[in-house]
């Protein structure tokens, strides 16, 4: 796993992004279509993938979905579309973050650094946390529900680890953004969508969650 992959059909945007990211010290590759991008990623998985949503052929949403299925690289959508609808759809397809064009390179770089820190396992998690019938083995990167392994993406896993480490305590969205994503500030919808996806995997009934509950006006809590 190395470097950043930029999947962007606009030639000028791709070239300028690649130049700027290279200046920030990343090893960068770029492709103009999702098909080429997916192939490049399979050939040599990237640490992080920047994906545009409006692509010829396979569109960005589908591209994100396939990237997510292939592995747990950090997927950041960089799109000109800023509807909440699109943002939520992209995050639900499996993106870890969503940035709206034009993105300042400083901000993009800050996010990439956060991704790098995270992927190098900067967080110190206790070995195994058991919350009811949920078992989180942080060191092994494994989660079991009633003994059965649950497949989580890296972001979902880190989110669950953070909540599990503070089981019974409320964590605000901003706290989660800082501790899980490594962002000083960010869009709280990121947290909401990822909590929603996590619930689909660990709750029996997502409409009335019993393990990962919302505390109104405060944040989220993993029930002890």
């Amino acid at each position: 796993m190395s470097g950043v992959l930029v999947i962007e059909d606009d030639d000028r945007i791709r070239r300028s992004l690649m130049m700027a990211l290279e200046d920030e010290g990343y090893k960068v590759r770029g492709t103009a279509t999702a098909e080429e991008g997916l192939a490049a990623h399979r050939a040599e998985p990237a640490e992080a993938v920047l994906v545009d949503l409006m692509l010829p052929g396979i569109d960005g949403f589908e591209c994100v979905r396939q990237l997510r299925r292939d592995g747990d690289a950090t997927i950041v959508v960089v799109s000109a579309r800023d509807d909440t609808h699109d943002i939520v759809a992209a995050l639900e397809a499996g993106a870890d973050d969503y940035l709206v064009k034009p993105v300042a390179i400083k901000e993009l770089s800050a996010r990439m650094r956060a991704v790098r820190r995270r992927n190098r396992g900067g967080q110190s998690n206790p070995g195994t946390i058991v919350v009811g019938d949920l078992e989180i083995r942080a060191d092994a990167g494994e989660v079991r529900l009633r003994g059965e392994p649950v497949a989580l993406t890296r972001t979902e896993f880190l989110l669950l680890c953070e909540l599990g480490a503070h089981a019974g305590q409320v964590l605000s969205r901003q706290q989660l953004l800082q501790r899980v994503w490594g962002y000083e500030f960010g869009d709280e919808r990121l947290v909401d969508v990822h909590v929603g996806r996590l619930r689909q995997k660990i709750e029996d009934d997502t409409s009335s969650p019993r393990r990962l509950v919302t505390v109104r006006g405060l944040g989220y809590k993993l029930q002890r």
């Binding site: 000109a80 901003q174 006006g217």
Partner: protein, 449 residues
């Protein structure tokens, strides 16, 4: 003279109609009743007088007749006074009664029965004169006071009835007017709703057949208005959207230039710095424009921890988050609102205080009536009264900004605040902060879940 309202005019018209109708009916009834009563009374009076006259005639044959004795020997009844004139000398029972008018006396002396109505101190009276034999006439003075009283009473009743009918007409007109104008009230309501931004308001053309055309053209007008607004909004959104892609290239390329300016010669580095600065400004402008077009879209409501949002906005700008307080016992700073809009409003107000107001002194969140209120106090020179509305318009910068020659920001920050607040059922204003500085106050309509 001010023009009368539609309702007043309808009411007046119906009242006048009722007056004319009821007055004519009353007048005709009065005439009819009066003439029939008078006729009947006259017939009775004639018959009685002839009967009395024949009685008197039968008893005055002899020369020694005591005329007064004859007159008092029969009882003519109340209100009737018999008078016997023999050879020009009147004999009567009352001492000072009504005199027989001259012309009536002449007619009766000429051998002809006659009558005349006279007005006495006791009211109207009828005098009947009947010639008996040569030189002798019998008169009967009959008081018409009772009849007159009756007629006056009937007249009064009829007048009252006519007045009542007129008033009832006015009331009916007022009521009918209200009924007739009720469909217009729904038109007014719909128009008000549209002015307030609810473009979904329409009239039901089936509701009032007489107003079908009005409803149809009204709805058509609103349709066109809506289309126009939608077109404008989409255009603005499209333009901003199309600007995003080239801006992304510019932003990335500018970042490369900025990073490498040390390796450029002085002149190129200067030019590069200008490009970078302008790109940043341009980027902010486009983001702001998009924010304004977003104000037109629907609210995305949820329970928002505004206290946390405000503190977060302060932290981002290196302001002590302790300046943010929730005032009053009501609520914990969590409002049902559109999170993005509230965040944008807070960010822009705090930014504005920092940039133009000498820093944030306090941020207060509280609930007041139907509004959630955000107040941001700054430590600047305040805003001149003549600028207080102006600063919320797009591309207007406060006079303080102009004085400082500040070229940062496109001047859209407060315009966005105003637009977002309006779209959230409220508004924005600026006041004086007690103790100097400005107080920006944003009200957001409280949303029901």
């Amino acid at each position: 003279m001010p023009r009368l309202g539609l309702r007043a005019r309808i009411s007046t018209t119906v009242a006048v109609g009722a007056l004319v109708l009821s007055a004519s009916v009353a007048l005709l009834s009065y005439q009819f009743i009066r003439s029939s009563l008078v006729d009947e009374r006259r017939n009775v009076v004639w018959r009685t007088a002839y009967y009395d006259a024949s009685y008197v005639e039968a008893r005055i044959g002899g020369p020694e007749t005591d005329y007064v004795q004859v007159l008092s020997s029969f009882n003519p009844g109340r209100g009737r006074t018999p008078v016997l004139v023999v050879s020009g000398t009147p004999y009567r029972l009352d001492v000072a009664g009504v005199d027989i008018p001259r012309n009536l006396a002449e007619m009766v002396e000429g051998g002809q029965a006659a009558r005349q109505v006279v007005h006495t101190e006791q009211g109207p009276a009828m005098i009947i004169g009947i010639p008996l034999s040569t030189g002798t006439q019998y008169y009967e003075i009959v008081s018409l006071r009772e009849l007159d009283n009756n007629l006056r009473q009937i007249g009064l009743v009829l007048t009252l009835v006519a007045g009542g009918v007129t008033l009832a007409g006015a009331a009916l007109g007022w009521y009918t007017g209200r009924r007739a104008l009720r469909p217009l009230a729904s038109v007014a309501e719909a128009a008000q709703g549209i002015a307030a931004g609810d473009l979904s308001a329409r009239l039901d053309p089936q509701a009032e057949p007489d107003l079908q055309r009005l409803a149809a053209s009204f709805n058509n007008m609103v349709d066109q208005l809506q289309q126009r607004i939608e077109r404008d909004r989409r255009f603005a959104a499209d333009v901003s959207h199309e600007l995003r892609s080239p801006l992304q290239t510019l932003a990335a390329a500018a970042a490369v230039l900025e990073r490498r300016q040390d390796s450029l010669d002085a002149r190129t580095a200067d030019a590069a710095r200008l490009v970078v600065e302008e790109v940043n400004r341009f980027q902010q402008l486009v983001t702001d424009l998009l924010e304004i077009t977003r104000a037109e879209s629907e609210l995305d409501l949820s329970e928002v921890d505004v206290l946390a949002l405000a503190r977060d906005q302060c932290k981002r700008r290196d302001i002590d988050p302790a300046v943010v307080t929730v005032v009053g016992g009501e609520g914990d700073g969590t409002w049902r609102a559109d999170a993005r809009r509230v965040e944008q409003i807070l960010g822009n107000l705090i930014e504005n205080a920092q940039r133009h107001g000498g820093g944030v002194v306090a941020v207060r969140l509280y609930q007041e009536g139907a509004h959630n209120v955000i107040e941001v106090d700054d430590d600047g020179p305040g805003v001149l009264p003549e600028d207080r509305e102006l600063i919320f318009r797009p591309f207007v910068r406060g006079s303080t900004a102009e004085r400082r020659g500040d070229t940062d920001g496109a001047g859209l920050g407060l315009a966005i605040v105003a637009r977002l607040a309006e779209s959230h059922g409220g508004g924005a204003m600026v006041l004086d902060r007690p103790g100097g500085g400005a107080r920006f106050r944003v009200e957001l309509g409280r949303q029901s879940p």
